[in-house]
Subunit: 531 residues, 2 copies
């Protein structure tokens, strides 16, 4: 608490100053957190992760949940799930007692569910900075940035292919954002790096430019192995084998198919005790039925089948129940976001995950808009609100997602992290302490006066209300005098200031050199080594 300046996060004047590994401030993120806690404003204080102190919102009752579970069991038994081009997994299923016909597996009732009993309901994903290690599951919620877009909408208003420079920028912004707890994975696709080498540069960027936990490559089993190898250089071999330092994204090919690429990566990670998020990627109406209950049934069946493979490989390996819920426009076939049906799917899936005892992933700040306009914001806020109230444990795409996931947007990233800060505050719930009750204030002020200067307000005003880093709450006249800026323009200026003031967290020089040597050796062994 010796920092003299109570600088405000989110004004561009803050010194985020990445906390060093091993500093040992378990309260949540070191110096930046302490400063943020004192300033009480900006985009919220840096939390290691959210510990929800608010109730869950649940849309299904016991009867509805039991019905969907029964239906999912029927789907698993009668319809079955295809494990494509993966004899190893098919053999695992045969040994486990499933009915394997070609590449299609039919499951005796309750088999996947019983296999998943060895999967933890809560685990810790360690970060290279122990202050940043996150709990995944239980009452914890972890925010991670957008994942996957090949395009960016940059700070000059251009939409163009993403580069490794963009990738680094998003890692830096996520590192600096007090409401982001996880560095994520493919924050954008660095298409200027060849596909077979891309993962090396991405993993390195997460380690070098952030000290928050991150995700591994899943585009091929050998890239998953590279990720584990790089993690071992950072954390040590034994630590990695006995702990979880990676949480990676495994999508089903809905409906009811898992392919060898995703299964290959899943098995690598499970074998090394690393976590997988098994996610049916659903555009309802195309990959699942047009109804919420039908979609939930298929999602549950797919997760049961896919997630339990991790337990066949290594009982006890962490695995998440993932859901990516969107609907398609029945006119154009285009995916839509922020609409009622995906929210209902998210709420229901969260309930099914809790009954299964698995941590849950869904939602984020999803939208179909091409620009960070009102459509983007309505859709993102609708998605994020249901994500939080559902009790989601791991929130991918929490910031920066635009255009149905085709573009990572700098401006939207800055706007979204402000919203995430609000959710962090909301998740603290209602303070019912004596100070929270504020009876002294009511007695002191009395009828017809105001609370602006009263003792209680003075004592609490720094932390009382969430302070947005984006919203303009000034008068029309003042807003006009300051240039009549829309929100995305303020976000643009903030992103520029953050990138200008970014400072990398310390990284042990030996580790850095070992990583670079590993990457160099790997790249040299590959064809088309143009980087």
């Amino acid at each position: 608490m010796s920092d003299p300046a109570a600088v405000e996060l989110g004004t561009g004047e803050q010194e985020t100053g990445g906390p060093r590994r091993g500093r040992g401030d378990r309260a949540g993120g070191g110096a930046a957190a302490r400063r943020a806690a004192r300033s009480g404003g900006g985009p919220g204080q840096q939390l290691t992760y959210i510990r929800r102190e608010i109730p869950l919102y649940e849309v299904l009752n016991e009867e509805g949940l039991a019905l969907i579970e029964k239906n999912a069991d029927t789907v698993l038994e009668e319809v079955g799930i295809i494990f494509r081009d993966d004899p190893e997994t098919l053999a695992l299923w045969k040994d486990a007692g499933a009915d394997v016909r070609g590449d299609r597996v039919h499951f005796p009732k309750g088999l996947p569910r019983s296999l998943l009993k060895t999967a933890p309901s809560v685990y810790t994903q360690h970060a290279r900075n122990p202050e940043r290690s996150v709990q995944i599951g239980g009452n914890a919620t972890v925010f991670a940035p957008v994942y996957g877009p090949p395009f960016v909408r940059d700070l000059d208003g251009n939409r163009r292919y993403a580069t490794i420079e963009d990738f680094r920028n998003f890692v830096k912004l996520a590192y600096m954002a007090p409401s982001i707890h996880h560095s994520g994975g493919t924050v954008c696709e660095p298409v200027d790096v060849p596909v077979n080498k891309r993962h090396l540069d991405m993993i390195y960027s997460h380690i070098k430019y952030s000290d928050k936990p991150f995700m591994g490559s899943v585009t091929a089993p050998e890239r998953a192995e590279d990720t584990v190898a790089m993690a071992k250089l950072v954390f040590g071999d034994d630590f990695v084998e006995n702990n979880t330092v990676l949480t990676s994204l495994i999508n089903a090919n809905s409906p009811m198919v898992f392919d060898d690429t995703m299964l290959g990566a899943l098995k690598v990670y499970a074998r090394h005790n690393q976590a997988c998020i098994v996610t049916p990627f659903i555009l309802a109406g195309a990959m699942s039925p047009v109804t919420v209950a039908g979609t939930l049934t298929q999602v549950l069946a797919e997760v049961l089948a896919g997630a339990s493979v991790t337990q066949l490989v290594r009982p006890g390996a962490p695995v998440l129940f993932g859901t990516f819920a969107s609907s398609i426009s029945m006119q154009s076939g285009a995916p839509t976001f922020g609409t009622p049906e995906p929210s209902l799917v998210s709420y229901g899936a969260a309930q099914l995950a809790r009954r299964l005892g698995l941590p849950f992933r869904t939602g984020g700040s999803l939208c179909a808009s091409k620009i960070p306009d009102a459509q983007a914001a309505y859709e993102s806020a609708n998605t994020l609100n249901s994500t939080i109230l559902a009790g989601t444990n791991f929130v991918l795409h929490a910031a920066g997602w635009l255009e149905g996931g085709l573009a990572s947007c700098y401006e939207k990233f800055m706007m979204d992290i402000d919203q995430l800060g609000m959710q962090q505050k909301f998740a603290q719930g209602v303070d019912l302490s004596e100070n929270g009750q504020a009876m002294d204030a009511i007695r002191q002020v009395g009828p017809g006066s105001h609370y602006l200067g009263c003792d209680h307000t003075q004592a609490n005003f720094q932390t009382a209300f969430y302070r947005s880093s984006i919203a303009d709450n000034n008068s029309f006249e003042q807003w006009e005098a300051e240039g009549s800026k829309p929100a995305h323009q303020r976000a643009n200026e903030l992103a520029r200031r953050w990138l200008e003031t970014y400072e990398a967290p310390a990284l042990d020089q030996g580790i850095d050199e070992a990583l670079l040597a590993f990457i160099r050796q790997k790249k040299e062994s590959m064809p088309d080594a143009f980087t």
Copy 2:
């Protein structure tokens, strides 16, 4: 069901065609509703009101609620409430057994709560078109437009003082909007009409240009009387005295003051069996403590004191528990919206209202932004989501609110009603019927295929997913080819098309003439008759 064309609402091609009084289609809004139900898209179907089939979200447990109730009782007893310049109300309180000292009333524990036992928990507000009559309370939610702004942001991008022409336009748009159930009150302040005559033109506009229920004038007791008189011309004397045809907004002067203007209007309406929404208008930090629990305590105390006056005047008169929750920026003092603290206040206040057995009003599509940009949308969506999940019965400011309530915005109105349509759909919850379960679809499609053409999708695609009237879900390329329009521009075009195609609902010529004669006579009796 003889309408040949299943036109799509929200595309500007629809024929809304206001249903006539007495047509007797109780299912929800007549021809427009039937067309909307068939089209399954646009901004949702016209519902008379929402019947929520989803659970409530509650942030306080029994202990927290009891604590706040106890504290509110303490405030009422020890601190008291001022009823300013209103000897009649003070006398009512004295007769009821309260401790009246000057203009301040101290309440014996439990007195206001026991008085409110005669207030109904659910009532019907009748519309001149019986198909439009709404239930207020219970599992019903009613959306009404923005209330109060002196400015508009018009379709040419100007911010200027509102006129009676703007007023009529917002009434027309609300009439056409399938997700608006109530015509509201002061949809904007027609400042081109003298203050003393304004209410006459406003009430007439609601009756003439819409057939949805509406709100009465509250700016003076005699204007409330004029409202009741005009309602009697429409509904008949006896009907008005024995039913409720007006729901009007009575704000407290927080903290802990009611003035004679608002009390005067309240007593007029209560005496005529008309409903009042007693609303502490709270910018927390100024008009209430900076904490959620402290604000809830004061809100409850104020509502108890103000709402129970209606029962002193006429036991059984409908009255709502109102809350307007905002926080102020502790830096500038400006009101802020869409932040976590007001959401918590709304959730908590809804719980307190249910325990009191009163219908509840809060929220809407609130924002501080000066333009319909991302800030406006994030803030509005945050507010609206908590409004719905709280189980709010009457939602004022549901569409068109901008700039902290200083401006009614056409574009925002169109964007908001699209969001309201989504909430209507969400509130239907999860369909667990056999069709909802969609097991036939899953069996028919099987692994590795798609659902686009399957029987179940074909049978359900019209109504499966909410279809936005504003969102652009097309590809980037198509969006660019169509002019790279932001959401507010699409909203602008939609508002213009709606206003061009508006058709007034039928109004009995005798009633119309009687209303105009009443207004003429009233205006002639007033000074400054410049209109």
